[in-house]
């Protein structure tokens, strides 16, 4: 009996001693996205941290203000608040004074870094999220064109939090077109290699495209939207070097195996008017093979294998889908891929930024030679020879065969 009493009393003792780490879930200010900028304030450079904090009571239907959040009195679902400080942690501490609940980073899905901060060097901004127990390495990292704070302040019609919208976009649409999600882990890995240039997706604030010129006059303020489509390229030291445009991003994504699905537009191979044909990518896999040249420099061969479907034939004339043209379709897709990659390679070489991890590949495949050239890699990379070899397999053409007007000729 004594034993039983002791066992029952022990936890009670602990209760009275205080539960050190206990916090009620509704007493936390849950951050869903963070934006870090570096601003010039009070004579020196300061970190300005913008947090997007959820207000759960407005997110649960049937409770509190609820649902639409329409009325002016209704509590907002998310609150964007900013603070400045010498470091990231100091900045978040300055926010603590302004909100009623302790800040909790455990649900943070996205960190945005402002363009200026990225140009000054991103490394100091990364330390706190990587060290903190609450944030994760699987958190997405993105670079904002201009100030990161502005991105989080955009109000979206469907998602009430920009931060969640962007992380959702990465979750669901990452790998489509030029959307290349990068998480902290990958970015940190690339920085840790010392030779690879990390890249991170770029978020821009753009006007909602459906607004015509007249609307713009009547509306006064222009509704804004978020666009994610390109990448920012960093030096191996973690400083923003340049932005890739959409085409260069696509080229990069081939090599990094980041493409899940995308469209490739090629001209129709059948004689007659040049009409676009949209090929849909089903899967692709690329490989980098390193050859050592006689002069001791490496040369790279990028091999891409893809499988494509026909998604759209934007035209009128028949004949495209007779087997004799499959091969030419494949050839055209190959050329298109090769051209895209080569375009990106040239751009990267001009930026002296090894975004592809070519250096890493040399290390993996030819370690002794790599030790020799590791020091000089920034000089070697811009001059190495790169060849691309794409190999496409055509799979199917969807549910119909020829364009509607062309069908009768087949009878």
């Amino acid at each position: 009996m004594r034993k039983v009493v002791v066992t029952l009393l022990l936890p009670l003792l602990l209760v009275t001693g205080g539960c050190w780490d206990q916090r009620e879930i509704n007493d936390l200010a849950m951050v869903v996205a963070t934006a870090a900028d570096v601003v010039h304030e009070a004579g020196n450079e300061q970190v300005r941290l913008t947090l997007q904090i959820a207000n759960p009571i407005a997110l649960v239907p049937g409770q509190g203000g609820g649902g639409g959040g329409g009325g002016p009195g209704a509590p907002k679902a998310f609150w964007t608040v900013a603070g400045t400080g010498r470091t990231v942690r100091a900045a978040s501490l300055s926010i603590v004074e302004r909100i009623p609940k302790p800040i909790f980073f455990g649900q943070d899905r996205l960190t945005l870094v402002g363009e200026r901060a990225a140009r000054l060097g991103i490394t100091p901004l990364l330390d706190r999220p990587l060290r903190n127990r609450e944030t994760r390495r699987s958190m997405y990292l993105a670079i904002a064109r201009g100030e990161a704070k502005r991105v989080l302040e955009v109000e979206m019609p469907t998602f009430r939090a920009t931060g969640l919208a962007i992380s959702n976009l990465f979750d669901l649409e990452g790998g489509r077109q030029a959307i290349m999600p990068v998480d902290f882990g990958e970015f940190a890995y690339n920085l840790s290699t010392g030779t690879t240039s990390p890249a991170a997706p770029v978020v821009e604030v753009v006007p909602q495209t459906s607004i015509s010129a007249e609307d713009r006059k009547s509306l006064g303020a222009v509704p804004q939207a978020i666009k994610v489509s390109r990448v920012a390229v960093f030096s191996p030291g973690g400083k923003l070097v340049d932005f890739f445009d959409e085409k260069e991003t696509l080229g990069l994504m081939w090599v990094l195996n980041k493409i899940k699905t995308r469209e490739i537009i090629v001209p129709c191979p059948v004689e007659g008017p040049v009409e676009p044909v949209v090929m849909g990518l089903v899967r692709s896999k690329s490989r980098i093979i390193v050859h050592l040249e006689k002069n001791g420099l490496p040369s790279f061969e990028v091999k891409v294998r893809t499988t494509c479907d026909l998604w759209e034939h934007f035209g009128t004339h028949p004949g495209l889908l007779t087997p004799q043209y499959y091969e030419s379709l494949e050839r055209r897709v190959n050329t298109s891929i090769e051209r895209e990659i080569m375009h990106t390679v040239r751009k990267a070489q001009s930026l002296h930024a090894d975004v592809f991890g070519f250096g890493e590949e040399v290390k993996r495949q030819h370690y002794p030679e790599w030790k020799r050239m590791a020091q000089d890699w920034p000089e070697i990379f811009p001059v190495v020879k790169v060849t691309v070899k794409a190999e496409t397999g055509f799979r199917h053409r969807g549910l119909s065969v020829e364009p509607v007007t062309a069908r009768k000729e087949h009878r």
Binding site: L10, L14, W20, D21, R133, R136, R137, S138, D171, D183, G185, E186, A188, Y189, S192, T193, G194, K363, R364, Q365, Y367
Partner: protein
């Protein structure tokens, strides 16, 4: 001395849990910091040292059936020296037990409960271990039979579930680091493997001993395989350089797990694995230090020593190694010397050589 009997499988399970419950959490960082992507190779090399310990300890036990390691020390070394070495071993069990308990608390501090004082963890786990050890060797050996499958399941999940983030090419190039560095690192790795030395304290309690050496060798190999797999997973996810810079790579690994956005954020697995595994480990070291102390001092019973030794372990645990950085430093620099290269491998090896060289004297002493 030990009234309970355990089966050979229970012993093998016990050794597996004792070793695996901590090594997979600390070794990846130490190995990756030393040899980057070749971390898993050190685990393979370390298997050799582990095998030596396993074989030697069983061979010694064969020579002195029915006696624990501490009991036959005087027969080999002579009474005064044997008792002295026995005392050293008793202290070694005690101190390593204290390290483990301390490490246990600090781990929970960095991972899930930063505000809670380490002493809370130290006292609760030791109290529980006390309860288990008092319930008898049979009981906690059986508890382990339930826990080990759970722990192994957790390890497998941690190894395989972060596959989305894995890039196996990060393991290349293989074996490019100098052999010397790898050997040094393998000693650290094998220091955990060398904990099969504890089997020397359990062999007299076995029902039969026909497969003991095979089992222990298998244990060492299985741990080698699991550790290598964990290290490969860690390097494949974080890369060789980064893995060495993570305080707890396996914990970070579990945080990367995300399956279809439903099975997400599985640190829970790690915490559960850690607590379950360490509970058995603490039990084992507590038991060994109590039994060793009793045997060195020549008592027939050991139950009455349990409470004082438990209190002593808690007191020690409160005073060893203050912070995690110090701990990691201890593990990577001192641990190998304190365990494998002295108590775990070298001393038993010397003992065995002595037994081989001086069979006559041994008989006389015995």
């Amino acid at each position: 001395m030990e009234p309970g009997k355990i089966s050979e499988r229970q012993l093998a399970f016990l050794m597996l849990t004792v070793t695996i419950s901590t090594v997979i959490f600390f070794m990846p960082q130490i190995a990756a910091r030393a040899v980057e992507q070749d971390a898993w190779l050190t685990s393979v090399i370390a298997t050799v040292w582990g095998l030596i310990v396993a074989v030697v300890i069983v061979a010694l036990a064969r020579r002195f059936p029915g006696q624990t390691f501490i009991e036959y020390l005087p027969s080999i070394l002579g009474r005064p020296l044997g008792k002295l070495v026995g005392l050293l071993y008793a202290f070694w069990f005690l101190s390593v037990g204290a390290f483990i308990i301390r490490e246990f608390g600090m781990f929970l501090n960095i991972t899930i409960m930063p505000q809670t004082p380490v002493m809370v963890f130290v006292v609760t786990i030791t109290a529980l271990a006390f309860y288990a050890v008092r319930s008898g060797l049979e009981t906690w050996a059986r508890v382990n039979e339930i826990l080990l499958p759970l722990i192994l399941l957790g390890v497998l999940m941690v190894i395989f579930l972060p596959f989305e983030h894995m890039d196996l090419r990060r393991l290349l190039p293989v074996g490019v680091h100098p052999l010397g560095t790898m050997l040094v690192s393998s000693f650290t790795s094998a220091s955990w493997r060398g904990e099969v030395l504890l089997a020397g304290m359990f062999i007299p309690a076995l029902v039969s001993t026909c497969h003991t050496s095979r089992n222990l060798a298998l244990v060492v190999i299985i741990i080698g395989v699991i550790l290598a797999a964990v290290e490969m997973a860690v390097v494949a996810v974080f890369g060789g350089v980064d893995a060495g810079q993570l305080e707890l790579p396996v914990f970070s690994l579990a945080r990367m797990i995300s399956l279809a956005r439903i099975i997400d954020r599985l640190e829970a697995i790690i915490v559960i694995m850690w607590v379950l595994g360490n509970f058995i480990k603490v039990c084992a070291f507590l038991y060994c230090s109590v039994v060793a102390t009793a045997q060195v001092l020549g008592f027939r019973e050991f139950q009455f020593l349990l409470l004082p030794v438990t209190v002593l372990v808690i007191a020690l645990a409160d005073n060893v190694l203050e912070d995690v950085a110090e701990f990691t430093d201890f593990l990577s620099n001192v641990w190998a010397g304190y365990s494998l290269l002295s108590f775990e491998m070298i001393v038993p090896l010397l003992l065995y050589l002595l037994v081989l060289v001086r069979p006559a004297e041994k008989r006389g002493a015995a």
